[in-house]
């Protein structure tokens, strides 16, 4: 079946089998391996991407369900010149990762949060990330990383 998807700003057309999962489409056809596969049962959130700005678990979405949509993966967050997104910087600055497996999904779930709520409390950050599991950090540093990013986005907005 033919689908047309805009991934990180670039439109693609592909002929896919209806049973192809979005995560496999992104990793194998689009070559974007930043989106990870963990549990494959829609529990862990490692496969989280944005579909029309909303966080979804791409291991439980069919590629055909994404037909006509805009997808953002972790590769789509940094600027043209490789400038890190404030969330990426925050995870760096605040040690928001250890093994890094959960990180792309965490960042995209956090991205949705900041786009809806630029001033989240710690409790709101935790709530927004409850669909994402991390087995390394104990979450504390992830929450701090998101706070760091929120602060940075705020500062940037004031400058602009």
């Amino acid at each position: 079946m033919k689908i047309r998807v805009k991934i990180n700003g670039v439109t693609r057309e592909d002929d896919v089998e209806p049973r192809l999962l979005l995560v496999h489409y992104l990793r194998e056809l689009a070559g974007l391996t930043g989106t990870h596969i963990g549990c494959e049962t829609s529990i862990c959130g490692a496969c989280t991407v944005l579909m029309n700005g909303a966080a979804v678990k791409s291991c439980t979405v069919l590629a055909v369900q994404a037909d006509g949509s805009e997808i953002t993966t972790i590769e789509g967050l940094s600027g043209r010149n490789g400038q890190l997104h404030p969330l990426q910087q925050g995870f760096w600055e605040e040690h928001g990762l250890q093994c890094g497996y959960c990180t792309p999904g965490m960042i995209l779930a956090a991205h949705q949060l900041l786009s809806r709520n630029p001033h989240p409390s710690r409790a709101e950050i935790r709530k927004a990330l409850e669909g994402n599991l991390c087995r390394c950090t104990g979450y504390q540093h992830i929450v701090k990383a998101v706070e760091w990013a929120a602060e940075k986005v705020r500062a940037q907005a004031e400058h602009a």
């Binding site: 209806p18 829609s42 959130g45 979804v56 439980t60 055909v64 669909g131």
Partner: protein
């Protein structure tokens, strides 16, 4: 996952034409959060999926005091939570929908799919079927039944109804619209749920070629509502027991109380016993406690789920207290 063909019709009529008269070969796809998982696990093996998310009329939500709230079946849980009229007039619905864990689920899961999600019973999810039969006998009564039913569990069905919106919708007197080849019919939400008694029967009163199109919730100003649920852990899980309550207070006493339990029986479980306990009485902690006891008086726990009786009792009690405190 087994290969299948995919159709994405734009009209309801076209979608209904694509659905056969038996279960199995074709499934309706909404958000897919439940169905795609079941397909990956080989629990559902359709040869065709009919995606209903391109049908504009299923994605509408309207409110007026006269008609109440009409929720299109493919409205997502996120859209429901973000709706101003729902926030203003249906706090109980917000409370119930907020309980769905994870932003990702709220974004993809639809209200229709939430009502029609299949049970979480692990025998069912591991391929033993809804009645969990081996050699004609249910594995549940002597098996791993810690999450199974404590009410309405005379058998052969022991699973619990997984919907967390159904109890409050029933308490609010909501109905669903179903469309099939012979036109539309309307059912009270309670009647959408059935306890299967034989192999092959589903837990919903929905024909294989019918589509749930809309949920209608009457507007009842002055009705206080609350939902209380008890979980094993905070994240990503279904409650162990929950209760939804709707009631009015008039001259210091309770009127028209509705008490509906969830996650305790193969269907959402209204409790006329609890309702009788409350009617016409002055609200108090003792009264709420008595209603909780009445709600589980008939419970028949299995070998490993006796603890759920106490959880259900407490859920009823706390939902009542919270509804009373909440105000209109």
């Amino acid at each position: 996952m087994q290969a299948f063909e995919y159709a994405s019709p734009r009209s309801l009529q076209e979608a209904i034409r694509l659905l056969p008269a038996q279960w199995g070969p074709t499934d309706v796809l909404a958000g897919g959060t439940d169905l795609v998982s079941a397909m990956k696990d080989g629990i559902s093996t359709p040869q065709r999926l009919v995606n209903i998310k391109q049908i504009a009329e299923l994605h509408r939500m309207t409110f007026s005091p006269r008609a109440g709230l009409h929720i299109g079946a493919t409205v997502t849980l996120r859209e429901l939570l973000d709706d101003g009229a729902v926030q203003q007039h249906y706090p109980g619905l917000i409370q119930a929908a907020e309980a769905a864990r994870s932003e990702q689920l709220l974004n993809m899961g639809t209200v229709g799919g939430e009502l029609l999600q299949r049970p979480r019973c692990w025998y069912y999810r591991n391929g033993y079927g809804l009645l969990a039969l081996r050699d004609g006998k249910s594995l549940v009564p002597e098996g791993e039944n810690q999450y199974h039913a404590i009410l309405g569990n005379a058998g052969p069905a022991y699973f619990v109804s997984p919907s967390f919106l159904a109890p409050i919708l029933i308490a609010l007197g909501a109905t669903v619209q179903l469309h099939g080849p012979r036109g539309a019919r309307s059912l009270p939400v309670q009647k959408l749920f059935v306890t299967p008694t034989r192999v092959g029967q589903r837990e919903h009163d929905l024909a294989p070629n019918e589509i749930l199109t809309e949920i209608r919730v009457p507007y009842r100003p002055g009705v206080r509502t609350a939902v209380y649920e008890i979980r094993e852990k905070e994240a990503l899980d279904w409650p162990l027991a929950m209760a939804a309550v709707a009631l009015r207070q008039e001259g210091g006493v309770l009127r028209d109380p509705r008490v509906v339990l969830g996650q305790v029986a193969p269907v959402p479980w209204p409790s006329p016993e609890a309702e009788r306990t409350l009617t016409g009485k002055k609200p108090s902690e003792d009264l709420a406690d008595a209603a909780g006891r009445a709600a589980v008086a008939q419970a028949t726990p299995l070998s490993k789920n006796g603890y759920k009786v106490q959880l259900a009792r407490i859920a009823v009690k706390r939902a009542i207290l919270s509804a009373v405190q909440q105000g209109g």
